[in-house]
């Protein structure tokens, strides 16, 4: 339950910090921390414009997208406390419910019959497919290391025993940050601030969304950032008591947001046709984690 609260709080300022970091890095003062939230709230008050090609799919897709993200949020734990619902194999549910959201955002983009939006849709489907194995290998390695198969139990018994596990945690952080960037369509996979449809992934998919629907999509985006941030923090806090873990949590989230901002400031987007290879390379990094775990468990005998 605690994790739910913390994720919601983080979601409020996460995107703000990224934007602020980017503006400071480029020598501007930049908007306030709460500007993204204010923008989103304003969207909720607006009317809608629908394309005349669209069907009910287009109208319901943002709702399902947000719901899927909220459902994913429910299974994420925080340190000692479980997620709202925790069970064996909940990370499989986590990945698959997010896939449901993706499924609907893809078909909603195709629903407009546009010549652009399909481009983003096909890329989104391809890229997220390639990111998934890395996540599952990571989780498989953790469950091998700890002997459990739920988020909460895996994270809470991660650092019992060997200090090597912190090395694993750092590698995992790298994998998870990259997955965060892919899932949220940020640099270096996708450039949210680009102005050319041909080079967009996520932005081009939501070209025709407006008003309340767009607000839902933005909200889901913010939540997604906070969810992945929480997963990363969980890699380190383990069973640390709350009076330390909560400040660590916020410090970490702040740091992650800053790192993302810095990556976005100093890196250019990859060439689109190299993206898939890059994402698949992520799988090999997570295989490294897998072999690391085999090493720790002394299975090379």
């Amino acid at each position: 339950m605690l994790s739910l609260l913390l994720i919601l709080v983080t979601a409020i300022f996460f995107t703000g910090i990224i934007n602020r970091t980017k503006s400071i890095a480029s020598g501007r003062k930049g908007p306030g921390l709460f500007q993204p939230i204010k923008d989103t709230l304003r969207l909720f008050k607006k009317g809608n414009v629908y394309s005349n090609t669209t069907t009910i799919i287009f109208k319901i897709a943002p709702t399902i997208y947000l719901s899927s993200v909220i459902m994913a949020m429910l299974v994420v734990p925080f340190g000692r406390s479980k997620g709202v619902i925790s069970f064996e194999g909940d990370f499989v549910f986590f990945a698959y419910i997010l896939a449901l959201g993706k499924f609907f955002s893809i078909i909603a983009a195709m629903d407009t019959g546009s010549s652009f939006e399909g481009m983003g849709a096909s890329r989104e489907a391809l890229f997220s497919m390639f990111a998934e194995p890395a996540f599952f290998i990571l989780m498989g390695s953790l469950s091998m290391l700890t002997g459990y198969t739920s988020f909460h139990e895996m994270f809470s018994s991660f650092h019992i025993g060997s200090y090597f596990t912190y090395a694993i945690a750092i590698l995992s952080t790298f994998v998870l940050i990259m997955i965060t960037m892919i899932e949220n369509s940020r640099m270096p996979i996708d450039d949210p601030k680009t102005h050319l449809e041909l080079t967009m992934v996520h932005e081009v998919m939501i070209l025709d969304n407006s008003g309340f629907d767009l607000g839902l999509i933005f909200t889901a985006g913010m939540l997604k950032f906070a969810i992945y941030g929480t997963l990363i923090v969980n890699l380190f806090i383990g069973m640390v008591p709350y009076e330390y873990s909560i400040p660590i949590f916020f410090a970490f989230q702040f740091l992650i947001a800053m790192i993302i901002g810095l990556i976005e400031s100093f890196m250019a987007r990859f060439r689109m046709n190299h993206n898939a290879q890059f994402i698949f390379a992520l799988t090999s990094v997570s295989l490294l984690i897998f072999f690391g775990v085999l090493l720790i468990l002394e299975k090379f005998m």
């Binding site: 809608n48 069907t55 499924f103 407009t112 019959g113 399909g118 489907a125 194995p133 309340f212 898939a276």
Partner: protein
């Protein structure tokens, strides 16, 4: 119950002889009643079996076959129930699908007869416990389904696909028969129970080879790669209700056979488990990879059947390793996942084929590049297709997720205390299962959005609308089961517990199931319900917030261009272009191109069609080689009658003299030895 059994045997014969003599209306009634009675009777036996009263009966048989045992155990019952649901739905749907063909009276009679025979032979295969009777039933099933496939026999492609199916179905029979002959030769009995006795007393590599013979035979039916090549031809060629039945039921009889053999043959299951796992992973990945590049809707679905057979196989492989290592959790998770996925796949795949049949009825083509915008004209079909697409992609809150989840938890439980080799094996399986899921998502977002969303890409003269209510009714029924299993999987698991207990034949295992192994299922059910409520809540909130706001309708944003045509939409080929480029080394396209030559270019064209690389190397190349060798002997068939008579005489003479000569030689050798 015995009376019911005899009714069950007599019924198809009566129906088959009655059908040709009546007009189309009464034919329909005969078909419906005979399949209906069959479904009710066999369901009765199966439900009785699942509540604990296994039905056993022995026919006297004949001198050749020996006594024929009939037994409805948990495994047969599970499969019979699946067959019944799909077949009942398919028959009702089929009556409406065949309406435009009613003027072809003879074809219809033939088709109804083979449908009845297919159904009754399928159910018999599940209960017969005698080699010869089994092979006879199997042959009836293979032949009748062949005739069901070639319903539109005036098309050349249909005949070609049908013959392909017929040949491969019989190769499958050869393997199964050889297996049976070996056992019968060694034991002298034709009853299934001797398999267990025989294999228990004769361990070793022979038994593994014996198992592999059966596996290949049944895998040819199930469509494991590389035994799949008939499948993508037969499914599109068959009328849609038959494709639905084939994909839902016929290929599952292969899975039934494999599972039955696992129950009967006792041998080292660790090796067999890994073999099945390897083949399944390969089938799953390659099936979906080829499915994505197909633009014929039914061919796409056919390749997806291969993928799903792969997923089922992963479950079976895991279960086999579990049997070998006697690890209850692997057995239970593996076989539960596999058996549930058999049911799930039967449901959503038949639904997909039935809906694509409705599309074919109005459009008369299956090329998805020419479809589009059907959602607005046939919303019910579209929503049914969407439900099945989400289910087949294995996404919550529908049934496909439940079975995949069980397989996943088995794999993750396995990796927890696996050794170095098996853990690498498992992690590769997990990677491929994840990739299968992702690729299926790519494939079905493509299929659904190109077929149903956007605008129609091709001009169609006929009116586009949903099928009549009674045709849609079985489809709704299937969709309801799909949703039900998704949100309340506890029920189906409580049924499944008995068939799975056959594999985990130990009371501890049952206790294990009762205790906590499936705790997560109730959580999944809970989360699915919360999810649905959440979607409804947000949608209602949205409805009330937006109610007083301005809602406008405009044309799609076109980057300043205001008059787009349907041709400017994103197409299926472009949707998968980046995928096809990435996977190019594994795929195969045949291109037909008429290049631009003159200064003033003439009309040109460019055509690509996907082809199966494995078919190219495993089927086409060897056949070409065989042709080359056989062609060398073409001079023998020179068309002259005298020569042919000579060949006959040579044959008869050799039949008579070779044994005599052989005997003489032996006699001579013996003589030499004595010296």
């Amino acid at each position: 119950m015995i009376a019911l059994l005899y009714i069950y045997i007599i019924l198809p014969f009566v129906a088959v002889f009655l059908i040709p003599f009546f007009n189309s209306k009464i034919k329909n009634i005969i078909l419906l009643t005979s399949v209906g009675i069959g479904v009710v009777a066999s369901s009765y036996f199966s439900v009785e079996s699942l509540v604990g009263n296994n039905f056993n009966y022995t026919f006297y048989g004949s001198v050749i076959t020996g006594p024929i045992n009939i037994s409805v155990d948990y495994l047969s019952a599970w499969f019979i129930i699946i067959f019944n649901i799909i077949f009942a739905a398919g028959t009702v749907y089929g009556l409406y699908y065949l309406e435009p063909y009613q003027n072809k009276s003879t074809s219809i009679s033939m088709h109804y007869i083979v449908l009845i025979l297919t159904y009754f032979s399928l159910v018999s295969i599940c209960v017969i416990q005698n080699f010869i009777a089994f092979i006879v039933a199997w042959e009836i099933m293979a032949l009748s389904s062949f005739f069901a496939v070639i319903f539109e026999h005036e098309k050349e492609s249909t005949i070609k696909a049908g013959l392909n199916y017929l040949v491969q179905a019989h190769i499958s029979i050869v393997f199964i028969t050889l297996g049976f002959i070996y056992i019968a030769y060694r034991t002298g009995s034709y009853d299934f129970s001797v398999i267990t006795e025989f294999t228990q007393n004769n361990q070793g590599p022979t038994i593994i080879v014996l198992f592999l013979f059966f596996f290949v035979g049944f895998a040819l039916k199930a469509g494991f790669i590389p035994f799949h090549t008939w499948l993508p031809y037969a499914h599109p060629a068959a009328p849609s209700h038959v494709s639905g039945i084939m994909s839902g039921v016929l290929i599952k009889i292969g899975i039934y056979g494999i599972l039955r053999m696992i129950l009967l043959i006792k041998t080292d299951y660790v090796i067999i488990g890994y073999i099945i796992l390897g083949i399944s992973v390969f089938s799953g990945l390659y099936g979906v990879m080829l499915a994505i590049i197909q633009h014929n809707l039914k061919k796409l679905l056919a390749y997806h059947s291969i993928e799903n057979i792969g997923i089922i196989g992963i479950g079976i492989g895991m279960g086999c390793v579990g049997i070998g290592k006697s690890e209850p959790i692997l057995i239970i998770m593996g076989f539960t996942g596999a058996l549930l996925h058999v049911f799930n796949h039967a449901l959503f795949k038949s639904l997909l084929f039935f809906t694509s049949g409705i599309i074919y009825q109005v459009l008369h083509y299956l090329n998805i590049e020419q479809m589009g915008g059907l959602f607005k004209k046939m919303p019910k079909t579209a929503i049914l297709f969407l439900v099945a697409s989400i289910a087949i992609s294995g996404i919550p809150p529908l049934n496909g997720f439940v079975s995949e989840f069980i397989i996943y938890s088995g794999l993750f439980n396995w990796i927890k205390d696996a050794g170095i080799v098996s853990s690498i094996f498992v992690i590769l399986t997990i990677i491929s299962l994840v990739l299968i899921g992702g690729l299926a998502l790519l494939c079905f977002t493509k299929a659904f959005s190109i077929v149903f969303l956007g605008n129609l890409r091709h001009h169609v003269h006929s009116e586009i609308k949903d099928g009549p209510f009674l045709q849609m009714l079985p489809l709704y029924f299937i969709a309801i089961i799909i949703v039900f299993i998704g949100v309340y999987p506890q029920f189906i698991l409580s049924v499944l517990y008995k068939p799975v207990s056959l594999f985990a034949n130990n009371n501890n295992y049952l206790q294990f199931v009762n205790n906590n192994a499936f705790d997560f299922i109730s959580n999944i059910s809970l989360l699915s319900v919360i999810f649905i409520l959440l979607v409804v809540t947000i949608f209602i909130i949205k409805h009330f917030v937006v109610k007083n706001k301005v809602i406008e309708t405009e044309s799609t944003w076109g980057c300043g261009y205001v008059n787009p045509t349907a041709k400017q939409q994103y197409t299926a080929s472009s949707f998968i272009r980046s995928y096809a480029k990435l996977f190019a080394p594994l795929l195969m396209f045949t291109k037909k191109e008429k290049p631009i030559t003159n200064i003033i270019p003439e009309e040109t064209n460019y055509e690509t069609s996907p082809y199966d690389k494995i078919e190219h190397f495993f089927i086409d190349k060897p056949i070409l080689l065989l042709n080359k060798i056989v062609n060398k002997f073409q001079f023998l068939s020179n068309g002259k009658l005298q020569f042919y008579i000579l060949y006959g005489v040579i044959f008869i003479l050799s039949v008579i003299f070779i044994p005599i000569i052989f005997e003489k030689i032996q006699y001579f050798i013996d003589y030499l030895k004595q010296l």
